[in-house]
Subunit: 493 residues, 2 copies
């Protein structure tokens, strides 16, 4: 299925709007039909969110956005559409009426996906004139970001309709999960329903509030499940003894009152063998040690993404940093006159900083030097309050020289030599060294300009800041001029 086809979206709520956005942003023309007066506004709001977020996931050009129209009738929305997505309310009689009307007007080959959370495809097909073109295509909110879509064809769906469905959802960036046997609520919603029921008990019995329940998820197993599911997580936790051992160990819990939901299957040898064999097929290509490190790297990445956004477990990490920093002995009172470059940061090369050559990626050097400049600014009094007052130093120019390589996990130190200072300009020279053996890794010469951010122009720095800088510049005046400062790129002498 080439992108740039035409999709008919029947039902324009949060789910229908999410589908519309996925198709539009992948170059499809989309016609939406929803008789609700609010539909156009709601689809527009979802689309606005999607335009903001979905392209951030791609590292290449996205297709040119398709054309969005709102149809006056269902017939108008489905005529000529290769893919029709039904997202009307969860009432079977209504879905039957809609299926019949769709197939009265659509191309005979058009494939119809239903967003139903719970109905089986056989139940939907029972109301369709042409059941072979109907299947469940169940997405997850927000549809434009969450990749999963459960495709449930049931026994009556045409084989080629399943192929079309797989190609179409893959083409708009989704992960099709083919559900081989139809069942109420498919797969994922069965877990959600079990957790929902347990959560209702906990709230009803006064054990936990909604917030405590959410925290129990997002600070704990929710982090694990963003990257490995239930079985792979347990495989790793079970360690070298393997999956069968893990099940044997936790088997007794099935008999204990660990949930209010108590219907449990018997742990026969056959079931244990089935699970072990499936887990081997799924994860056996990796050793437990490899899986542990994959899991840990994923968790570090997820936690750091949340830290960058100051949310959930990431907000906790920020608070923890503040506590760690509060425990660090206070810096020497300012007024250094030592003719030595200032010792600035100590840090470790993170896994995410490594490029395909196995070395630290180019721009991470500038990240470290930029953080070194930030640390210098805080030290001379350009702190959060100063910046909040509308003044700051901006970097206008940087010259980096790469001297040696560093690998993941290596410790680094940076130092700063102040080369020159005037009312508006600050000229500095940073060095990055290996913590272990003091080897020079890279240098950066930077020019910073003091600006009035509101007015968007250079201005004189505050007297207290200038006084500190001048003290530093004077102390550093007796240092030798760094060999690689004042040089142009490619200079040979």
């Amino acid at each position: 299925m080439k992108r740039g086809g035409r999709a008919g979206i029947i039902g324009g709520g949060v789910i229908g709007g999410g589908w519309a956005a996925r198709f539009l942003l992948h170059g499809w023309d989309v016609a939406v039909y929803d008789p609700a007066p609010e539909a156009a506004r709601m689809v527009g709001e979802v689309l606005e969110n999607a335009r903001r977020a979905l392209p951030s996931l791609a590292d290449c050009d996205m297709p040119v956005e398709g054309r969005l129209t709102f149809s006056a009738s269902l017939a108008e929305a489905v005529v000529g559409a290769a893919w029709i997505q039904e997202s009307v309310p969860e009432r079977l009689a209504l879905k039957h009426r809609v299926m019949a009307e769709i197939q009265t007007h659509a191309d005979p080959d058009a494939v119809i996906g239903s967003s139903t959370s719970g109905f089986k495809p056989s139940e939907l097909q029972a109301g369709a004139p042409n059941p072979g073109r109907v299947l469940v295509a169940h997405p997850f909110n927000p549809v434009y970001l969450i990749p999963l879509v459960e495709l449930v064809p049931g026994e009556r769906c045409d084989a080629d309709a399943i192929t079309v469905a797989t190609d179409v959802v893959t083409g708009v960036g989704m992960k099709p999960l083919l559900v081989r046997k139809e069942i109420d609520a498919h797969i994922a919603d069965r877990f959600l329903e079990a957790v929902w029921r347990e959560a209702l008990w906990l709230v009803r019995d006064g054990i936990a509030t909604t917030e405590e329940i959410d925290d129990a998820i997002r600070f704990g197993f929710g982090l694990r499940w963003a990257q490995m599911g239930l079985f792979e997580t347990y495989r790793v936790a079970g360690g070298e003894a393997g999956m069968a051992h893990f099940i044997a160990q936790f088997g007794p819990c099935l008999k204990w009152p660990w949930t209010r939901l108590t219907d449990v299957p018997e742990l026969t040898d056959e079931l244990v063998d089935t699970i072990s064999a499936q887990s081997d097929a799924q994860s056996g290509a990796y050793s437990i040690r490899e899986l542990e490190r994959i899991r840990d790297d994923n968790l570090v990445g997820i936690l750091r993404a949340l830290k960058a956004r100051d949310w959930g477990a990431g907000a906790l990490l920020r608070a923890h940093d503040r506590r760690l920093m509060a425990d660090i002995p206070a810096a020497e009172p300012f007024g250094e006159t030592s003719p030595q470059p200032l010792e600035m940061l100590t840090l470790t090369v993170l896994p995410a900083w490594i490029d395909y050559n196995g070395h630290m990626t180019e721009h991470r050097y500038l990240q470290v030097f930029g953080e070194t400049s930030d640390a210098l600014l805080r030290r001379i009094g350009v702190d959060a309050d100063y910046v909040a007052s509308g003044r700051s130093y901006y970097t206008v120019e940087t010259h980096i020289m790469h001297v040696d390589e560093v690998a993941e996990g290596q410790g680094l130190r940076t130092s700063t030599q102040v080369l020159a200072v005037d009312d508006k300009r600050l000229h500095v020279f940073h060095r990055m060294r290996a913590a272990k053996d003091d080897r020079l890794i890279a240098t950066a010469e930077q020019m910073l300009l003091h600006v009035d951010a509101t007015a968007g122009r250079a201005c004189t720095a505050q007297p207290a800041v200038l006084a500190r800088l001048r003290t530093l510049a004077e102390a550093h005046g007796s240092l030798a001029w760094p060999e690689s400062a004042g040089r142009r790129v490619g200079q040979r002498d």
Copy 2:
């Protein structure tokens, strides 16, 4: 509780080892007691993983690592310890024996946390000589990365022991969740147990394999739960109509066979009101629109973290990029003689690229220029195969000039002018412009050196690569020398 105390770890498996690692890496001295012959090796392996991962979460100095000892007896491990963590197997009689022995030798004030997954604190306290110092402190694997710890004091725990426990786990970077009423399996494991039971049914009934179940989680709701839990997610999904409406809509599902686990509470008005009020208290500070955007930014961050690691939903995004790029019309056959800089990348400023001033962060400029150089290299034949052969161009020097600012969501284009080429050196000049109005944003002059990566020294590039570069250099020879090339930092003329 100041860091740098002394912790006794009783039981040195994956959980005990994880606790030991958290304490050690936060400057505590740790004594481990475990009679198993493998304990020292297992704790060592967990600690090795933790040293690799935990410091990556901090953006400041971590404390100096504490001292790890393995004790010959339980008594030796607990004497003088301010915090004692029990992580022995889940057998109540064993836990009672261990508690009694701990309290025979420990300081009377020492607080004892139990890692039990399922026992209530009252059950543990029943076997303790001094029950006021005992509580459940239930962590999640890997303990050194997952922040959640459920603190369950029960009715007999001293108030000051709860305070100590909260301070201690907060001090080692964890999120204490105080469970106010004791219950079997506390809170989080009740959800895990419900999902586990449902998963066992699905495997037993042949509906899904372990891998399909894991995919249903990690490509779907697992991504959501890393940042918002069940109730906040549903609050956002329910949209403007609010939580009570959401529950009313999905209430009927409780009567449907959406899980094999069927004991359900009655949805009384009182329960619906309780949930709505708790949800308002939890999330009411944000509008639905704000929560949507917070959620979306978090999901983008999590998905990109997984993309950087080529795992799960992130591996899917990489595959999708490859499909999108395959759809882009092939580049002009090489041999350009146009005296124009090469048009290189088009891209959008991502949310994660923005600094506290609201502009693109300094090092992201170098990221964009670095990717521009990478694109040039691919264009002249330095592709993945070439790099795999052990040869590549490394950047040795960069001079960036910042000309104007860009904000989130703005489109950028880059272009490249080849300034000079010899057998080993490649001298280029990149420009970054705003896509909308062609405004110059920044420039970068770079010197790249062709290297034999194995030998770690410069070497001559392959003839085909050199031929392409010379064609370019010749075509660009007629272009004016860029105004900001060949300049040193701070040059005024």
